[in-house]
């Protein structure tokens, strides 16, 4: 009878297999957009976008601004996308909307944060927009995990900041792992298109 015991274990052979390795999925980053549903985006007329991309890390000594040609092409793509929705590019002082573009570089671990986390001495903090130490906040629940190589675009309400003394983020997109090793910067254009296509409410 014992000779039959191994037969009982045979089904295990036909059940082998493993899940997909998430690292294999880096070639197709997810594009996430969130927005404040209380906001009427047609109330805004103009916008400003800085001339460089903020590079942030969980090591603040690595903070810097990237003004390379690759960064410029990404910023130009975002600017074109905004203009195609009827918004006018203007000076920082006159803009009703501000756009922060950030790439998360060299994160040693996933970060979960429900709030604004890189307004340290480094990149586009509230002072950059001329509002001293006014806090950023989201106009919606936002608790998401970030990974190395993700690009974030955030739309800030500058129009109402003088009265509220706060910088409210009314729209943001996260393009996951776009700057991982396997994706070229030029792919960013396609994913920026996807972010705006997801957001038909952004229009003048």
């Amino acid at each position: 009878m014992k000779k039959y015991y191994f037969v009982l274990l045979l089904p295990l052979v036909f059940s082998c297999g493993k899940e997909i390795d998430p690292a294999e999925l880096q070639d197709e980053p997810a594009v996430l957009t969130l927005y404040d549903q209380q906001v009427n985006f047609s109330d805004f007329a103009s916008f400003y976008i800085p001339d460089s991309i903020g590079i942030v890390s969980d090591n603040t000594s690595l903070y810097h601004k990237d003004g390379s040609s690759a960064a410029q092409s990404i910023l130009a793509k975002i600017r074109t996308s905004m203009e195609s929705r009827g918004y006018t590019f203007t000076s920082k002082a006159n803009a009703e909307l501000g756009l922060n573009v950030t790439v998360l570089h060299q994160l040693n671990e996933e970060i979960h944060y429900a709030g604004y986390w890189w307004s340290y001495d480094g990149y586009y903090n509230a002072n950059y927009w001329g509002y001293g130490y006014a806090p950023y906040y989201y106009g919606y629940l936002y608790d998401y995990s970030y990974e190395t190589g993700s690009m974030l675009i955030e739309m800030v309400d500058l129009k109402h900041a003088p009265s509220t003394h706060k910088l409210k983020i009314i729209w943001n997109t996260e393009i996951g792992t776009i700057f991982s090793n396997t994706i070229s910067v030029s792919d960013a254009s396609r994913y920026i298109d996807e972010a705006f296509n997801q957001s038909p409410y952004i229009k003048r």
């Binding site: 009878m1 039959y4 015991y5 037969v7 009982l8 274990l9 045979l10 089904p11 295990l12 036909f14 059940s15 082998c16 297999g17 899940e19 997909i20 998430p22 690292a23 999925l25 880096q26 197709e28 980053p29 997810a30 594009v31 996430l32 957009t33 969130l34 927005y35 549903q37 919606y140 629940l141 995990s145 990974e147 996951g176 792992t177 996807e194 296509n197 997801q198 957001s199």
Partner: protein, 202 residues
């Protein structure tokens, strides 16, 4: 009537003593989802099960059974809208279904030393269900445990003279109380089809 059973089940013309002993079983299982098919409809072709129990002289059996199935479904890159936002991504969906039941079974034609012995059973127990979604490098997972009812029908094919070693094919209907607010379902059901072998050790 004897001729009928002889033709249908290969019954020998003389009865033998009913089998009694420890029951061990192992099986390969396919599973077909019957609920939440708009979320995941692919059958599971990756599954197995084991059972340990007792075969009684009365042709009844009591068996503790554990099954494991993994479902997989890939969704091409698409945009999914939700309240306050949207996400564009491809999806890799996995589901793990692990029913654990105590089954009361009854085997027909046991006394006739039939080559083919039909059987029925009813199992009750717990059903563990886990749903995982991979999108880009992210992962979402939710799991639940529910009460399970599992009626079954099957047939065993005798592989030795004593009837101690048998091949079987069986089908179970799984109805469980697993629920999920995230995936918006209040119960879960699936149809399992298994093939395998079982031993009766006297």
């Amino acid at each position: 009537m004897k001729l009928f059973f002889t033709l249908l089940f290969g019954v020998s013309l003389m009865t033998v003593k009913a089998q009694e002993g420890t029951l061990l079983k192992g099986n390969y299982t396919m599973s077909f989802p019957l609920s939440q098919r708009d979320y995941l409809s692919n059958p599971s072709v990756s599954g197995f099960g084991f059972g340990f129990g007792k075969m009684f002289e009365t042709d009844f059996s009591l068996c503790l059974e554990l099954n494991w199935n993994r479902y997989y479904q890939h969704e091409d890159r698409n945009t999914y809208y939700f309240e306050g936002g949207a996400i564009t991504t491809e999806l890799h969906k996995y589901r793990y279904q692990v029913p654990m039941v105590l089954t009361l079974g009854y085997t027909f034609l046991q006394d006739w030393n039939a080559i083919v012995k039909p059987y029925v059973g009813m199992g009750i127990g717990l059903n563990y269900l886990a749903n995982k979604i991979y999108f880009s490098t992210y992962e979402r997972k939710e799991h639940s445990t529910g009460f399970l009812m599992q009626p079954k029908i099957g047939a065993a094919l005798r592989l030795d003279d004593d009837g101690d070693f048998n091949f079987f094919i069986e089908s179970t209907y799984n109805y469980a109380t697993n629920h999920s607010s995230e995936l918006d379902f209040k119960h879960y059901s699936a149809l399992n089809v298994s093939i395998g072998t079982y031993l009766i050790i006297e």
